[in-house]
Amino acid sequence: MTLTEIRPDAVTDRTIAGRSPWQLAWARIRTDKVALVSGLTVVLLCLLALAAPLIAAWNGHDPDEQFRDTGITAQGLPIAPNGTFWFGTDRLGRDLFIRVLYGARVSLLVGVVATGLAALVGVLVGLLAGYYGGVIDTVLSRLMDVVLSFPYLIFAIAVVSIAGPSLTATIGVIAFYSWAAIARVVRGQTLSLKEREYVEAARSIGCGDLRIMFVDILPNLLAPVIVLTTLLVPAAIVFESTLSFLGLGIVPPTPSWGNLLSEAQGFYRVAYWYLGFPAATLLLTTLAFNLVGDGIRDAIDPRMERLFSRRGRRNRRDRRDRRRRRKGA
């Protein structure tokens, strides 16, 4: 047999485009309305946060400026939302809208940076533990267990009582508490991926450990890491607000959603907006992040169980169609 005779096997339809798994995922997520709307919300919130100084300059309300004449009642209480103060004012007569926007900068920054740090550490630790196994794995896994079972608030309190509350301390505490969850998932995935034949193939070629970990294993576990990271961002935002609420996170006058809500605590009876607007913004943000994460999970790996899915309708329709066809035949 000559080479030309075996060629037919190699000829395929040229119209098939080489689409990567990521491109396929993108194609899937584009049809997911819930995820798209949530994604747009996240983008919009980020843009608003970035544009906070511009908006403040445009309406002339500095976040720390106290409007003693127009922003506070005769009894010294916050005033309700109106044309000047869209979200009303706070206890010192500051523009709540502007403060919520500035708070978004801090809260989003903390959420994204802390989660990013956690993902970086988690992926590294998980890869090392899963790939090398043995003593390294035992030590690192115990470490993850300890971190995951540690009462985080006690830890946060301890750190803050040593270092004092600050943006860095907040990010540190959240990252410290989040990396283990990622590391555990990465470790599990690595354990199964390293037994794949293509890893053995890489070794037979002469690839080093680092190349195998980062070129052959990492891309295959990126999907769950991305999903988990997206879901950890809202958790980090919630975490930040809780720390700030307890006075262990971002310290006033720097506004964050957590300390805005903390201040509003004493005013919920007289000024619903003081509590309501920061709470609603926070909820909108975390909910949007969670829904985006859910959508990404669905798009990257359609087999994974999804929390909030539109696929049910599609599945039921498919089943009905199949039944009909069977009857017709």
């Binding site: 395929t12 080489g18 798994p21 053995e200 037979s204």
Partner: protein
């Protein structure tokens, strides 16, 4: 000799305990195997699933450390070399894997998979790399334009061609083919076998070719070794082994291969082996095949036959004589 394998033993320990590992037993996957390969030769290695042939392949390729024995490549001892020193030999020894789906990373493009050996060993880069890879693809019968596609977009046969191209990239001297066609349709099997044969002629390759099917290796191999429970039971020239199989196990394997000629099939009688392959954790005493052997006698259970070595050698106390029929058990008289 290009490759000399001498009395190779591979045991996997069975451990228990969560923190402190205790060894409570071992699996003797490969138990004292010797053979050698001359340049340009193909040695077929045949045996049932679990007989240790894939483990042997991995030991030879330096993927598993071996428990004892020697592996020499081109006169150099490469037994359990540290990874850094083994790297130099990996250019000469390449592996083609069984599973055309599992052995290609699904997240990487075909071009970069084939280029991997060239990149890792810093053979070429840039546009030269791309050209080399595309030449390789063309040589193994793939469309070079499919350079940027993912493994999932290829059929099983095409994927195995990718595996061949990857193994060929460094122009190795020895390719260990670990059941390269077992996962493929019969029609595709022939194409891959032909490709391997053409490449051997063109590049003067030496193959260690593993399969569980005797008919697959017959046409590609110069010599064939039959493995059973971690040991080589018979080693002979390909035609010799098919025409005059001497080990009862080889006879049984041969009787089970499919034959295209109906007259031949009519004449052929299947030797049905009783029982399952015993566990390699606790192999039978004496000759490992004795519990299932139609010719077994008392001596077989107590005394281990000498190992099969060069030329036509068989590890059996009572080899099958020409014309002997094993379908009736015991010392075979011809059927009526």
């Amino acid at each position: 000799m290009l490759l000399e394998v001498e009395n190779v033993v591979k045991h996997f320990p069975i451990t228990t305990g969560l923190l402190v590992k205790q060894t409570i037993g071992q699996v003797s996957a490969v138990d004292g195997v010797s053979f050698d390969l001359s340049p340009g030769e193909t040695l077929g290695l045949v045996g049932e699933t679990g007989c240790g042939k894939s483990t042997l392949a991995r030991c030879v390729a330096g993927l598993h450390p071996i428990t004892s024995g020697r592996v020499r490549f081109d006169g150099d001892d490469i037994t359990n070399l540290p990874r850094a020193r083994m790297r130099a030999y990996r250019r000469d020894i390449q592996v083609i894997f069984q599973d055309p789906y599992g052995s290609l990373n699904p997240r990487r493009r075909v071009g970069s998979i084939i280029a991997d050996p060239l990149v890792v060993h810093r053979v070429s880069r840039g546009t030269e790399l791309r050209r080399t890879v595309q030449e390789l693809m063309e040589r193994v019968g793939l469309n070079p334009e499919h350079y940027n596609r993912f493994p999932a977009e290829f059929s099983g046969g095409q994927r195995q061609r990718i595996g061949v191209a990857r193994a060929l990239a460094l122009r190795p001297r020895l390719i260990i083919c670990d059941e390269p066609v077992s996962a493929l349709d019969v029609s595709i099997q022939a194409q891959i076998l032909n490709l391997l044969k053409d490449l051997q002629d063109e590049f003067g390759l030496t193959y260690l070719f593993i399969a569980h099917d005797l008919s697959v290796v017959r046409h590609i191999s110069d010599r064939i070794a039959v493995m059973y429970l971690g040991k080589i039971v018979e080693l002979a020239g390909a035609d010799e082994l098919h025409e005059h199989p001497r080990h009862p196990y080889t006879n049984a394997l041969l009787s089970a291969t499919a034959v295209a000629d109906p007259d031949e099939a009519e004449r052929r009688r299947r030797i049905i082996l009783t029982g399952d392959v015993p566990s390699p954790i606790d192999p039978p005493s004496g000759c490992r095949f004795h519990p299932r052997c139609p010719k077994a006698r008392e001596r077989c259970s107590s005394e281990e036959p000498p190992p099969a070595l060069r030329d036509h050698l068989v590890a059996c106390h009572f080899p099958v004589e020409a014309g002997e029929d094993l379908t009736t058990s015991g010392s075979g008289g011809r059927p009526a």
